[in-house]
């Protein structure tokens, strides 16, 4: 939604570990993170900050299950939902990467693969059968549902 990018990031969790040498804040245990309409959940969420203390990257992972992310592109558009054992949100580029058993639901369309990438503001999706630096291949499956006439 408009203003998502400027909204503060709010997090709830069981534990937070801060390492000032590495500039990381690692939340663990039932982690729920929100930034405007974007929501991210996982068992472990690592927030990387730059020298100015600004959040640059958020990495969510699920222990048994997958991490989950959702965001509403616009008031009149349905929520986009994404899953992966690793979900990485790049704050500056407003880009999400879904890894390992990656899945994205955008309106009535479905995308599955080893790696799915979603650009929040452009609503653009890219899916790949393999992840960079890994030989595991996972077929890309797309289900594009035509608009109801």
């Amino acid at each position: 939604l408009e203003g998502d990018a400027e909204a503060p990031i709010e997090v709830t969790a069981n534990q937070l570990d801060l390492d000032d040498n590495k500039g990381t804040a690692i939340y663990t245990g039932d982690v729920e993170m929100e930034q405007g309409s974007m929501k991210l959940t996982g068992d472990r969420v690592e927030i990387l900050r730059n020298d100015a203390g600004e959040v640059t990257r958020v990495t969510a992972t699920g222990n048994d299950g997958r991490a989950y992310i959702e965001q509403q592109p616009a008031e009149d558009e349905p929520i986009v939902k994404g899953w992966g054992h690793t979900v990485i949100y790049h704050a500056a580029e407003r880009r999400v990467e879904l890894y390992d058993d990656a899945e994205l639901h955008q309106a009535r369309d479905r995308f599955n693969g080893a790696f799915v990438e979603y650009f929040l503001d452009r609503r653009q999706v890219q899916a790949r059968s393999e992840r960079e630096g890994s030989d595991e291949r996972e077929r890309v499956r797309m289900t594009l549902n035509p608009e109801q006439q």
Partner: protein
Amino acid sequence: MTERQTPHRLKRVIQASTKWWIALLIVALGVLLAVIEQRDDRSPGPVPTDDAGEPDYYLEGVTMTRFDAEGSPHQRLETPRLVHTPDDDTTRSETPRATFLDSEGRTWHGSGETGRLGPGNELLTLRGNARLTAPEEGWQLDTDTLYIDIDDSYAWSETSALLQQPPQRMRGDRFEAWFDDNRMRLTDDVRGHHPRQDRDASEREEQDS
């Protein structure tokens, strides 16, 4: 009374009144000194007694400094008043302000309404609006009671803690800090607030750096 006698009598009167004046002056000076002595009376306050027993010493307006193995100062405690009780070998202080250097030379400050060092000189307990700050990193922790294990460079709190590094702030029910590793932890009911840096501020910062 003949003319010759008058000057003689007058002289005797003047001499007598001069003596009187000098005596009066001495008495006045004595009173003044007594008043000054009174006002300057900084006799120690009431001897504090509590369950820890009778103190063996207490000090007022104190700066206590400890030196590391190389002889450089690395811990300091400042307090308007401290009391040591031999029964439990504990030093109690009012509104203490503590300063530590960690192994990387970073400075940490601790303060509270009351302080308790001991038994021995290892565990410092800051009670009542306890605060820990790391100025160089911009960290500030506020809680009710903070324990600082000085020799292990480790601090913890079992009371609700608010940790701030503006613009971000986080809270939790418990807090831990490892000074030497520059690491901190909040546990239970943790909430984090990480606002976007004001874009102009971060751009100004980039230009300045």
